[in-house]
């Protein structure tokens, strides 16, 4: 047999559906999006006995076929549309042994679609602890299906599922429930209007909330012989249908399902008492948050340093190995730097999703939602927005990706749009260097002004996020019935395999999705910064060398060389006078001369790159935007840094280092150099309180991060939202910085 069996995996949330999927497919899975929408599509291949293969599609979790979200309608549409290439030959309905009654509701609906269906009862390992016993044979007979009793935790029962899939042709396609009894005359009318269609299928299409399958909907509008019912009448019928199904299920379970309540031990109650407590609940939540921050902020620093070193070395190696030329420079400075900029974020993303998936697997996340919902509601957000907003303080990229848990599209969109306001770790280098430059020494109540300024900047970020959420909540006209029903699942030990898959999947999708765009923009920025059309650019080496011959190095470099040289001399003298080593006078002056040549060459090199940048396309752009940034208190050099740091905020410091021709790794030097910069018009330091505050505020609000834009594009599937974000945040930043500078000036 060469044909693959199409299998759809469907089930309630929290039934371990993903674990079943992982165990069936192993690593042979693929995650993408359904065309045109942001619903995640997971598929994989499963090897069955006797050389047969199955294509397994993991449908979004749903409680029933009555859809209320886009996710759910994807599932329903696939089950209804026989022409879809993924239309299942067989459906596997995953249920959880503790919530079997509720899970069977969905099962009976799928049965009624006349799709061959297998029932998987998962979490069998909990049965004895919960005092549950199930008569599988009788249940199979009553539901007219085949059942696999499975424990994904223990890896039991997976082979039985595979057997059942292989023999899917033997499954019955009889319906479980005849829903026409809820309103016989209505269904009679339906039948006479559409004699060739399946009644239950018609019923599902009529009652769907989410507008889908426009063609079939149109069919109903055109059918004049058929009078539709009002919305509330349909809803009544849906209620009747649900009650009817539960009657059927209750009748069956009475004979087949026994719970010995005395044997059931409730860990849930005692955990809930502590974790949702009005004091301890918050204390524990904030302790967990602190740990996550520490991981993203601090622990990921070590791998990030390694990555940075690795890419710097790789870039150096390419330059030394390949023949010099444009292509080599493109690889070394454009492509490798770009890839390095992507890989750099991997530790942070991996850490965040490690924690998020741990919290979700254990069932704790629902408790956070429960605790925080009331606090977030005034801002148009819900309890589910808390984790993305909090993790935004580390990095907005994983935070935006974490909004996927929010089902309500409006809430999710607002969360995505406001998250970049929170102070991410990339703003920190800028804040630190500017604060050190412009905020005066001194303290109030034992807190230094500098620390207070930093704290204020964090608070401003949060306030901006929350307040703009409030505004967006008012102006965004997105329909979507928002009711809040959150299941509080049982506490479970996380399955390491599931956690590992989640971390791997999220990291991979970031690298492949957003990474492409980041790489492209990095290459463009590199090109603009390292090319120029005027002779000034082409002959930079010569011009600068001649200038230095005539006028000497810039004042700053001269002083710097002097300082370093005298420091070197005194260090040498100290070693000699302390008898650490002895050298003769000639060797001494030789090594001093060598050091001097080295310092001068470095200064020459830096002045050339500075001159080149000034005359590159980027330099022209900097000068072109000077009139725009001048009212904020910046000159064209800061203008260039603002432009290049659009790629990522942390580039700001590096660009200034290049422009001021000092090495960017020497923070003290660049700070001194910035302090020495004089505004030619006012003859005062360029970085003063007014321009410093203006810069701080600009970076607090401006959307200076193309990686975030790329991720927002990926998550919202349109350029509309990232563009709105960019325009709104950056113009807001501009206005605030302008006002601040003009007042403080």
């Amino acid at each position: 047999m060469s044909k693959q069996i199409n299998v759809a995996l469907i089930g309630n949330p929290n039934t371990g559906k993903t674990s079943v999927f992982n165990q069936l497919t192993g690593l042979k899975q693929k995650v993408g999006n359904y065309p045109g929408i942001t619903v995640e599509k997971k598929e994989g291949i499963c090897k069955l006995p006797r050389g047969v293969k199955a294509h397994i599609l993991d449908l979004p979790g749903t409680y029933s076929l009555n859809t209320t979200s886009l996710d759910e309608s994807v599932a329903v549409e696939l089950l209804l549309n026989k022409n879809d290439k993924n239309h299942p030959d067989v459906a596997i309905v995953v249920s959880d042994v503790e919530n079997l009654k509720r899970n069977l509701l969905l099962f009976t609906q799928i049965k009624d679609l006349k799709i061959p269906a297998i029932l998987v009862i998962n979490m069998a390992d909990r049965m004895s602890r919960k005092g549950i016993s199930v008569d599988i044979a009788l249940l199979e007979q009553k539901l007219n299906t085949k059942i696999a009793l499975v424990s994904t935790r223990k890896g039991v029962g997976i082979d039985r599922i595979k057997e059942l899939i292989t023999d899917y042709k033997n499954l019955s396609t009889e319906q479980n429930v005849d829903i026409t009894v809820i309103s016989p005359e209505y269904f009679d009318k339906l039948r006479s209007a559409f004699p060739n269609e399946d009644l239950y299928k018609l019923w599902l299409v009529i009652t769907q909330d989410v507008n889908f399958m426009p063609i079939e909907k149109k069919l109903f509008k055109d059918a004049t012989s058929f009078a539709t019912k009002s919305k509330s009448e349909l809803k009544r019928l849906q209620q009747k249908e649900t009650i009817l199904r539960y009657q059927f299920i209750n009748g069956i379970l009475k004979e087949t399902y026994k719970v010995d309540l005395a044997a059931a031990k409730g860990l849930r109650a005692s955990f809930d008492k502590i974790l949702t407590h009005k004091v301890f609940g918050y204390v524990i939540f904030f302790a967990i948050l602190l740990t996550i921050f520490q991981a993203i902020y601090d622990w990921s620093g070590y791998p990030q340093d390694l990555i940075e070193t690795f890419f710097a070395n790789a870039s150096g190696w390419v330059k030394d190995t390949l023949p010099p030329g444009v292509f080599t420079n493109l690889i070394a400075e454009g492509v490798l730097t770009g890839i390095g900029g992507i890989v750099m974020f991997i530790p942070q993303i991996a850490f965040l999703f490690l924690f998020i998936s741990l919290l979700e697997e254990t069932g704790y996340m629902s408790r956070v939602v429960f605790l925080m919902d009331r606090l977030m509601r005034p801002f148009g957000l819900s309890g589910k927005s808390v984790v993305p907003l909090m993790s935004g303080t580390a990095c907005a990229i994983p935070a935006v990706m974490a909004t996927r848990t929010i089902e309500n599209w409006k809430e999710r969109l607002i969360t995505i749009l406001v998250t970049p306001f929170t102070t991410c770790s990339a703003r920190l280098p800028i804040y630190i260097i500017i604060i050190a430059l412009v905020i005066p020494e001194g303290s109030i109540l034992g807190l230094s002004y500098k620390a207070l300024t930093l704290m204020l900047l964090y608070l401003i970020g949060f306030a901006a996020a929350i307040l703009s959420a409030m505004v967006l909540n008012k102006i965004l006209k997105i329909k979507g019935r928002s009711f809040f029903v959150v299941e509080m699942p049982n506490y479970k030990l996380p399955l390491p395999k599931n956690v590992a898959y989640t971390v791997w999947e999220k990291t991979r999708s970031f690298v492949l999705g957003a990474g492409k765009i980041i790489l492209a923009i990095s290459v463009v920025l590199w090109f603009l910064g390292s090319n120029g059309y005027a002779d000034d650019f082409k002959n930079a080496d010569e011009i600068v060398t001649n200038r230095i011959k005539k006028e000497g190095f810039s004042d700053f470099n001269q002083a710097n060389i002097q300082n370093e040289l005298s420091a070197y001399k005194s260090a040498l003298k100290d070693s000699i006078s302390n008898n650490i080593y002895t050298i003769d006078a000639a060797a001494l002056s030789d090594s001093i001369a060598l050091k001097k040549t080295f310092l001068e060459e470095r200064a020459l090199h830096q002045e050339i790159s500075s001159y080149k940048l000034e005359n590159s396309y980027m330099g022209y752009m900097g000068k072109a935007i000077e009139p725009v940034v001048h009212p904020l208190g910046y000159d064209w050099k800061i203008g260039i840094a603002v432009l290049t740091s659009f790629a990522a905020r942390e580039v700001f410091v590096g660009t200034l280092a290049t422009i001021y021709s000092v090495g960017s790794d020497e923070e003290q030097t660049i700070q001194n150099r910035m302090a020495a910069e004089i505004n030619p018009k006012t003859k005062k330091p360029l970085f003063n309180l007014a321009s410093g505050i203006s810069l701080l505020l600009f970076y607090a609000f401006a959307m200076q991060c193309m990686s975030t834009l790329a991720v927002v594009k990926r998550e919202t599937n349109t350029w509309k939202w990232p563009a709105a974000q960019l325009v709104f945040m950056s113009s807001f930043a501009y206005i605030v910085a302008l006002v601040a500078y003009q007042i403080l000036k």
């Binding site: 409680y63 029933s64 009555n66 209320t68 503790e98 919530n99 009654k101 509720r102 509701l105 509330s232 809803k235 009544r236 849906q238 209620q239 649900t242 009650i243 539960y246 849930r268 109650a269 809930d272 008492k273 949702t276 009005k278 609940g281 918050y282 629902s366 939602v369 429960f370 605790l371 919902d373 009331r374 606090l375 309890g383 019935r481 009711f483 809040f484 029903v485 959150v486 299941e487 509080m488 699942p489 049982n490």
Partner: protein
């Protein structure tokens, strides 16, 4: 006066009455919130909202505004904790 789930005290139970309102989300019904079923209030979040209930074995959190739509008869012998 009509009694609704919103008036339950922690630990109290009640039996859901026939619905009079069809604005109740269908999702709640699917989760087992049906006439005749028992409902128990497990926990109330800080700031009195949302509330955490066990209905028919489903442990779910709903907002107070939704809880006000579900009418019930309180079972008297369950002491308020």
């Amino acid at each position: 006066m009509i009694t609704t789930v919103a008036q339950l005290k922690k630990g109290q139970k009640g039996i859901i009455k026939e619905f009079s309102d069809d604005s109740l989300p269908i999702k709640l019904l699917e989760l087992g919130c049906l006439p005749g079923n028992e409902i128990e209030l497990i926990q109330i979040a800080p700031f009195k909202d949302p509330i955490y209930i066990n209905v028919n074995g489903s442990h779910i959190a709903i907002r107070r505004e939704t809880a006000q739509l579900i009418e019930l008869d309180i079972i008297d012998d369950t002491p308020a904790l």
